[in-house]
């Protein structure tokens, strides 16, 4: 047995790095789908750039006070609408200027990160759980169960996403981060259900599933140990890309006056305020927009990188 692993290791190394001395490398195990994907990801510049960006965004969201000493809610009307003109003011708390009420645009940018990320991450988690579960059940059991779940999914899918969330949000007079999360998750899960269902149907027919069944494995074991790990790849890709979309959706709803509202601090709230003053002062609108776009970009790039790693056929 040890001999066999040795030869396998040797061929694998020959393929990947034929010139490298064999002794210098750690013996490699036969890699799984996820191991392969990880090896791929580490070399992908899109993955590296986006994960560095996301790391910083998470850091800002968790410890905003590390990045600015200014208070995002403190307005000083003396500074109203003024933009710091002199160069070299980077590092000062107000280097991006002030908004209509004399609050530091930079401080609001930093403190707004948390709301956007909480909404997006929570919606993605809920949607992935609900969609993953319904899709799994639908795809695995098929028949009547599948027909019922699929029709319910169709019903929710038929309502335009933005429109549906607008209606849900109207039901709340007191809108917080959690109401926005609820509104987006309410209609968002259908996409994941469809993806999961498709993946499970494909995986279900694989030989190893038949083998597990023949060996007498129970339904929960087959679903969790054999089907789930192999059907998860497309769901993770779609979830990551959707996360970027939810950040944009929160901002859009806030812009329409239906999402978060002042005194909550979020990029959408500030963009909405800035859009009323676009002809007087563009910087109030521009900086949160740039921040928003960079964040969405980071998550979409991450999703793309993961997709490439998990599905080499697409390259």
């Amino acid at each position: 047995m040890p001999d066999m692993t040795k030869t396998e290791t040797a061929t694998a190394e020959e393929n990947s790095a034929p010139v490298a001395p064999v002794a210098a490398q750690k013996p490699e195990k036969a890699r799984s789908l996820w191991g392969d994907a990880w090896a791929d990801l580490r070399r992908n510049p899109y993955f590296l750039v986006s994960s560095v960006l996301i790391f910083f965004l998470l850091l800002i969201a968790v410890f905003p006070s590390l990045f600015t000493s200014a208070d995002p809610t403190k307005g000083d009307l003396v500074n109203h609408f003024l933009q710091k003109p002199e160069l070299g003011s980077i590092g000062s708390p107000d280097w991006l200027g002030w908004d209509g009420q004399g609050r530091s645009v930079y401080a609001r940018l930093i403190y707004g990160t948390r709301a956007s990320l909480i909404v997006a991450v929570c919606v993605t988690l809920i949607v992935t759980l609900v969609g993953g579960l319904t899709g799994m059940i639908s795809g695995y059991f098929g028949g009547l169960t599948d027909a019922i779940i699929s029709r319910i999914t169709d019903v929710f899918f038929g309502i335009p996403f933005l429109l549906g969330s607008m209606v849900v949000l109207q039901a709340f007079t007191n809108r917080t981060v959690w109401t926005v999360v609820f509104a987006l998750a309410f209609l968002g899960w259908t996409q994941i259900t469809r993806v999961m269902r498709g993946a499970v149907i494909t995986v279900k027919q694989a030989d190893y599933v038949h083998a597990a069944k023949a060996l007498g494995a129970g339904t929960p074991r087959i679903m969790l140990r054999h089907i789930l790990p192999n059907a998860m790849a497309p769901v993770i890709v779609v979830s990551t890309i959707a996360l970027g979309g939810y950040i944009a959706a929160e901002a859009t709803l806030s812009y329409l006056g239906l999402g978060l509202a002042s005194p909550s601090i979020s990029w959408g709230v500030d963009i909405s305020a800035g859009s009323d003053q676009i002809r007087v002062a563009k910087h109030i609108l521009i900086y949160p927009s740039i921040m928003l776009s960079i964040t969405v970009l980071a998550f979409i790039m991450l999703g793309e990188a993961v997709r490439n790693a998990l599905d080499p056929k697409l390259r």
Binding site: R151, V155, L162, G244, A251
Partner: protein, 310 residues
């Protein structure tokens, strides 16, 4: 094929009822009362309120309200009346839908032509410079939220260059609708380009393409007929569901350019709790969406002869 269409049409029935019921329940469970809203802050005596509510059938149990509503639409094509203005909702919809329909149509043409063009260019040169440029361009378009893009276009082309008017007039001409259409279609354009690119790059290695090349067919025929037909299937799926999304997604675009279309109507009726109007808009959107996805499935058989419907 006939049987397949019949089965699909039958499947559409529960989805139609389910979706309209869901949106109906959502709208009617909203706090606030459209009739009380007529009288503003002054308030109204309970007798008048009850009388008006009775006239509009708002005092019936919900399931009965839903049944009255949906049967009027199905059997008489009657969507009811707007409570505030007393106008027939069919008239209100008749004013709003053509405007949004024109924007959506323009947006659709833009995403079809540009999206397919960019996608084909990138797919045929996968991994080359063009491919990377298209990748970066589409990533940027996807990352910039629609309303930000709207503001950028409005600021640059209306305020700074003066090429377009910042607000669209009440009876807009086609050229006025171009800017909102570009904004509305941009996101889908990026998706179409990416889908086309992926699909073409993948099918370029397919056996039937190799066969076509080996037979000595001219390049134009290999790409135009053999490659395109199969590669267009995922794109067609996306475009089909996108028609409904374009109409519904017009809320933001229409607000930025001040268009009097479906988006504005949705926003107003939501604010005023005009449930009947809102449900009417969504009902039409759902029908459009259902028909478009049926059309797409039928198109599959045309695009890929390997797909046969029993």
């Amino acid at each position: 094929m006939g049987r397949y269409v019949a089965r699909r049409l039958l499947q559409m029935i529960p989805v139609f009822f389910g979706t309209t019921l869901l949106i109906f329940l959502m709208v009617y469970s909203l706090p606030g009362d459209p009739v009380a809203g007529l009288f503003g802050d002054k308030g109204v005596d309970p007798a008048t309120l009850a009388k008006l509510r009775h006239e509009h059938g708002l005092d019936l149990p919900l399931y009965q309200q839903y049944w009255n509503y949906i049967s009027n639409i199905l059997f008489h094509f009657d969507f009811g009346q707007q409570i505030r203005s007393g106008r027939e909702i069919t008239d209100v919809l008749g004013d709003a839908f053509p405007v949004t329909g024109r924007i959506a149509l323009l947006a659709f043409v833009i995403e079809l032509v540009l999206g397919l063009g960019l996608g084909i260019a990138a797919g045929l040169k996968a991994g080359k410079l063009v491919d990377n440029l298209v990748l970066i361009l589409t990533l940027l378009i996807i990352s910039v939220p629609v309303f930000v893009l709207g503001f950028v276009i409005k600021t640059v082309f209306a305020f700074q260059l003066g090429w377009i008017t910042p607000n669209v007039s009440n009876y807009p001409t086609w050229d006025e609708l171009l800017a909102p259409a570009v904004v509305l279609g941009s996101l889908s354009l990026a998706y179409v380009a990416r889908l086309t690119r992926t699909s073409i790059a993948e099918n370029l290695r397919a056996d039937y393409v190799r066969t076509a090349v080996a037979k000595g067919l001219p390049k134009r025929r290999v790409i135009g007929v053999h490659l395109m037909r199969n590669s267009l299937i995922p794109v067609a799926t996306f475009l089909g569901t996108d028609i409904g999304a374009l109409m519904g997604g017009a809320v933001v675009t229409e607000r930025i350019f001040n268009v009097k279309g479906v988006g504005g109507l949705i926003y107003d009726s939501l604010a005023r709790r005009e449930g009947a109007t809102l449900v009417g808009v969504v009902t039409i959107l759902v029908v459009v969406y259902l028909l478009a996805s049926l059309l797409v499935d039928l198109l599959y058989a045309v695009l890929d002869p390997r797909i046969r419907y029993a």
